[in-house]
């Protein structure tokens, strides 16, 4: 579903990612751990297309959500990428889930429409814009790019209620401005409600567990499983602790250090890291 080959970048002229490679298949959950400043958030932002995160080398290929481009529809934005894969040498993904496109050639909002979701380490506050309005506009903007019909107000509210209930978030919170005045834990919970509503194909969750109390951690873990544990979806969890991985069991655990994946293992690697620290494990 996602193939990152030898990705390098700079942030404010400073090289951060230095030849990072990682492959994620549909149905898998991957966890990335690594010391502060290793480049974990940078990887998430770069995949999301954040301005200022300059790609200097490598490539990222991604199998997007199906795109129902009718003739002349408002669906032009994804075209360049699709044209590319329609060339004589298509690039089918290993599990045959469809052609891969060049993710980095898409604008940030097109990446979201293609099925990429970023859970932010620090969710952004947007005064004056309610969660409901924000999410409805976002969802319909994605659907427009994919050539799908927009959801009506009633359909949207039903969906929002369902996902808020799944994450145990009061519907009233969704009427408030995006993240404004939310506690750290509420922000993370709200992020997962957003994910539920937008229903992405690949979720990259940057320290979604930080700021959550013990009960919230369980609810959010269950929410991630309910929304993303499906054969056609995948998750990349960025975390410092085993605790979230108790709920969302990873298939692979990677160690990111100094801009590269330096070690990959199964779920036991996270336990090992927690027991012994990065220095020990990396040296071994």
């Amino acid at each position: 579903m996602l193939q990152i080959n030898n990705l390098s970048n700079t942030v404010g002229d400073k090289p951060i990612l230095k030849g990072l490679s990682l492959s994620i298949n549909a149905g898998e959950v991957h966890a990335i751990m690594g010391p502060n400043g290793a480049g974990k958030s940078t990887l998430a932002y770069t995949l999301g297309g954040r301005p200022g995160y300059e790609v200097t080398g490598g490539e990222v290929r991604f199998a997007p959500l199906p795109f129902r481009g009718g003739a002349g529809g408002g669906a032009a934005p994804l075209d360049p990428a699709l044209h590319e894969t329609a060339s004589p040498t298509p690039n089918p993904s290993p599990e045959g889930e469809g052609d891969l496109i060049d993710l980095l050639s898409l604008a940030p909002h097109e990446r979201a429409a293609a099925g990429l979701f970023l859970g932010f380490q620090y969710p952004v506050e947007i005064p004056g814009v309610s969660n409901l309005q924000f999410l409805r506009e976002s969802l319909n903007s994605q659907r427009r790019v994919r050539g799908e019909e927009p959801l009506s107000g009633a359909e949207f509210i039903k969906l929002a209620k369902e996902k808020a209930a799944l994450l145990g978030l009061d519907m009233e919170m969704l009427k408030r401005p995006v993240n404004v005045g939310f506690s750290g834990g509420e922000k993370k919970r709200a992020e997962m409600v957003q994910m539920g509503i937008l229903d992405p194909k690949l979720a990259i969750l940057d320290e979604t567990d930080s700021g959550l109390d013990i009960d919230a951690l369980r609810v959010v873990g269950a929410g991630i499983n309910a929304i993303m544990r499906k054969p056609d979806k995948a998750v990349l969890l960025i975390t410092h602790y085993q605790r979230l991985l108790d709920y969302v069991k990873p298939d692979f655990v990677h160690v990111l250090s100094k801009g590269r994946i330096i070690k990959t293992g199964g779920p036991e690697l996270a336990l090992e890291l927690e027991r012994e620290g990065y220095a020990e494990v990396v040296a071994a």
């Binding site: 909002h109 947007i126 004056g128 814009v129 924000f134 790019v145 937008l198």
Partner: protein, 256 residues
């Protein structure tokens, strides 16, 4: 305020204006007078969305007697030059409220010029101005507050914020205080900024196209300016006009 002679840039309240445009309609009509007697309450609103090539100069001279209250709502978004001025005199305990949205693009010069004189004790004034500028537009707010020597208990506030969508747009905000009394509360805040880049990326990461994202942020920025319009139909008319102008701006900046 309606001098017969064409003003020059040397005049304090014309220094950022478009004199050449003003000349084309000079001399302008005499100012409109609004007079409220003791204890009277009034509400006025001006939706100034003249055509792009129009020149609009509107002057108000307002006198509010003891305990009177006037709430003025303004959308200033039309014309090559759109200039609205207020010369307000407040007597004891009177209140003047101005809530204005200024939205312009292209080559527009849009101005709000106020002189609020707290002539007697205990009068209050509140001015809220939200400005959004794209293209090569200029937005000016010149706001003078004068407090007479014996006007104790004055409470005057100015909240002025401008958002620039393009590098060629410019906003001038000049609050000015002339205070001769000492028991006076005057608060003014001015801020000129650009759209929050972090918010824009967050919105894009959720799939919002840049135009819609910009429009949502701008809408939030001016939201609230017209909340105080009591008549619902009128409030909606102002909101709709502001929104459509914002959408036009966002579209133009998106193409830039």
């Amino acid at each position: 305020m309606s001098a017969l002679a064409l003003p020059t840039r040397r005049a304090e309240d014309w220094r950022y204006s478009n004199i050449e445009a003003a000349a084309s309609v000079w001399p302008v009509p005499a100012p409109e007078r609004i007079v409220l007697g003791p204890g009277e309450q009034g509400a006025r609103a001006l939706l100034q969305d003249a055509a792009d090539d129009a020149v609009v100069v509107r002057d108000y001279v307002i006198t509010l007697a003891e305990g009177a209250r006037l709430d003025f709502h303004l959308l200033n978004s039309g014309g090559r030059l759109g200039r609205v001025t207020f010369d307000v005199r407040l007597e004891r305990g009177a209140h003047f409220g101005l809530h204005a949205a200024v939205i312009g693009g292209g080559e527009q010069t849009l101005e709000v010029v106020t002189t609020v004189t707290h002539a007697e004790p205990d009068a209050t004034s509140e001015q809220v101005v939200r400005t959004v500028l794209g293209g090569r537009a200029t937005g000016n707010y010149l706001g003078k507050i004068g407090v007479a020597k014996h006007a104790q208990g004055t409470d005057a506030s100015q909240s002025v914020k401008a958002m620039l969508l393009s590098r060629q747009a410019s906003a001038n905000a000049k609050p000015e205080l002339e205070i001769f009394a000492d028991d006076v509360k005057c608060a003014h805040g001015c801020a000129i900024g650009e759209l929050d880049k972090q918010a824009l990326f967050y919105m894009a990461a959720r799939g919002l196209d840049p135009q819609t994202a910009q429009t949502l942020l701008l809408r939030a920025f001016v939201a609230g300016v017209f909340d105080g319009i009591a008549d619902e139909a009128e409030r909606e008319r102002f909101e709709a006009a502001a929104l459509s102008k914002l959408e036009t701006l966002a579209k133009l900046e998106g193409l830039a």
